[in-house]
Symmetry: none
DNA sequence: GATGAATGAGGATTCATTCAT
DNA sequence: GATGAATGAATCCTCATTCAT
């Protein structure tokens, strides 16, 4: 029971001004992280981006890592929120898939920079990595259940493992969202969403999907495969 | 007439021993990066991991970044090599797809740690990021051509944009390879390769693929879609 | 069993040069502490006093506190060593007392600055405070046993509690040693040792001590005490 | 005619409430210093301990050092006051000695933490160190005069230097008072006062002191010293 | 070549003090 | 007066790089 010399955790601001400064720091932290990356994420840079002196940083955050936690929670929360806030009125499975992919794509687009940084840079911080895993789990779990329901309704290929399929197709969307920003591909959002949805639907053999016609014509084709499936 | 006081660029080692030390440093650098991440990637840690003294590091490399370049080139080279060194004797498109996916999965499995780290950590270093892009381009380009050939042969859905499809499906494999190590999913390699290949094949509507039977039965199903495509 | 990101404890120097630098830093640390006090005891100041750059400080010590530990152990070790290295040939108790007091006085004179600083300044560091207590215990314990032997031999007042008496008289010597440096008293060492020894001897009623004559004449004095024992 | 831009020296509080806040800050400062030491003695910690906001601190004190001065003066004043406020009705020198020691012990017990802290921590602040010296001087001077009077009255050993003796015995009491709190000795106040007084009395050969009988029997003892005066 | 000690710019953090409300 | 947010000089520490042996 030795007296602990703990640094007093910064108290939440009591005044409006304080709250505004604090929020500005979290926002600035996110922007620095997204735009300048890990190495630029210093208290000084963040404070400057927020327009306050770096001493002020420590009025609100215990450390650089403390701010990182707040930034990640903010990004994660926003991402999950944008998924939950779905009207979801349509009844058509394919239309729902399109809508879902569009939201996922957008959400990852905003969040991917920060979340991937965390996925690797904050190797030592298990708590943060956990947040990233939870987000993935949220989406994969939901897609898994969705696929199960489709299979049960006879609307999707019942031979596929629901979880692994959901993981793979979710991975596709996630990685495309990420690649969009680093590659300079010319595809616009609509085109991407369209393709992702069609690929997803065909992959699980969704009944009523756009490319079903091609697939259904399969038996008519008597030709033997003669070209490469892959160019290697 | 002042002589330039340039740092003597480390000469390539002339002796066998020198080459061995140099290779040990590159290998150690890769392992440190893979296992301990960015923050542990210091000349000191790498030298220690290679079993040489700190000073020796600078006998072979100009700087920390110099080593990083060598590590990345080593990883990238190995990855491309493993793809090119394929006998490729089979003629069946699906079998080729399976083989290709297996190799891609394995290659990314090994390389993904380093390449993703580079993708973000070395934001400032254009040369490095270029290497990562080139690797992706290599695979996406190849898959694009493969898909084109299949479409031309009437073996794949011709309505899909070849490049975007290749990008999306390649992304799927890449991201699953990455997720395997961070998530603790119970799937073994064979199962993953099997699913990825089937999903890929169904997605492009490959003739002769395992799940074609399900897809072909589509017209028989008169049912209206009534379940969610996705659980959101 | 999460991987600990522990700072590698600086390895002991392997070369002569390294050992010399390290020793110079410990010595400089002690001098800074003695001459400029707590607030000047910074890695930078110590490094400068030792004639090296402040980066070198961290080649040998983990932190400011790490150096402090070394300094204190060095001071404490030296103090105990100077006490143990005693020829101790005399047989006369009073002569032994004088010799003992002289050594104690000298030892504290050198050590008191550092040890008192630790006694208070390093409030949080229990390990350091323990060292100070051990030193006191060493002296008090020894004096306690010495007094017991004298009492048993009929050479000292048997009514005194040995431990409390040893503590009190040891305290006297310790505090006088300290006061010497802060006050500008004109007393030289011989005079101080002489008085401390006589006071100590008289206090315990040591037979054969210099002031015994006065005490023995007590019964001759029939006068009633009429003056103050203390001026308050 | 530029107006001097001096910091407005905090005015002594005019209102009752103001005085109370100010006193609370001084008291809190003392408590923080005594219980948590130098490193915790910050305006923020003191303000918090006093139950006021950080900013208020500077309403009453120019600086941290300003408060320290007030705290030290408060402690010193209280210590001196407790000595002066002595009825001092007894006539017996030994009884007076006991009473004096009891008061000194108690006073140092309370004051020693702060005064020792000042003795070292405020090495640069001559004014503060002066206060500590003055307190010692007050006690030593008084004891010196008391001893002189006893010697003149033939009640104490005339061979002792009055000042050095007073310093030594005063040091004994002071250091025992300090050691009481840091060591976990089981001695209660009465026992300590009793021993200190008897040691003090015997040391100066005070006529009529409790242990005089032992001392007076000295001539009867013909034995030669044969045991150690000290265990070293 | 190899070694490991030395260097110091740079980054994180603290905290006494000032200032706007 | 009281409040608590804002400030930035000062300090501890890290680590890529250089250098003497």
């Amino acid at each position: 029971m030795g007296r602990q010399r703990t640094k007093p955790a910064p108290t939440p601001p009591t005044t409006t001004r304080g709250r505004r400064t604090r929020d500005a720091l979290i926002l600035a932290g996110r922007e620095v992280l997204e735009q300048q990356g890990w190495s630029a994420f210093s208290p000084e840079a963040v404070a400057q981006a927020a327009g306050v002196s770096y001493g002020t940083f420590y009025t609100y955050f215990e450390s650089r890592d403390d701010l990182l936690h707040h930034v990640v929670r903010s990004v994660a929360g926003e991402m999950l929120a944008s998924s939950l806030a779905s009207p979801d009125v349509v009844d058509d499975p394919y239309a729902k898939l399109v809508e879902s992919n569009r939201r996922y794509l957008r959400a990852w687009d905003r969040a991917s920079k920060v979340l991937r940084l965390v996925d690797q840079g904050a190797a030592a911080d298990e708590a943060l990595r956990q947040i990233v895993l939870e987000i993935r789990e949220f989406y994969v779990g939901r897609a898994t259940k969705g696929l199960k329901r489709l299979q049960d309704a006879g609307l999707a290929n019942p031979d596929l493992d629901t979880r692994l399929t959901a993981l793979a197709l979710g991975s596709m969307v996630e990685q495309v969202a990420h690649a969009r920003s680093s590659m300079e591909e010319p595809f616009d959002e609509d085109m991407i969403v369209d393709h992702l949805s069609r690929l997803w639907a065909s992959a699980i053999g969704l009944r009523g999907a756009p490319d079903e016609a091609w697939a259904a014509r399969a038996d008519a084709s008597g030709g033997t495969a003669s070209a490469d499936a892959d160019g290697n």
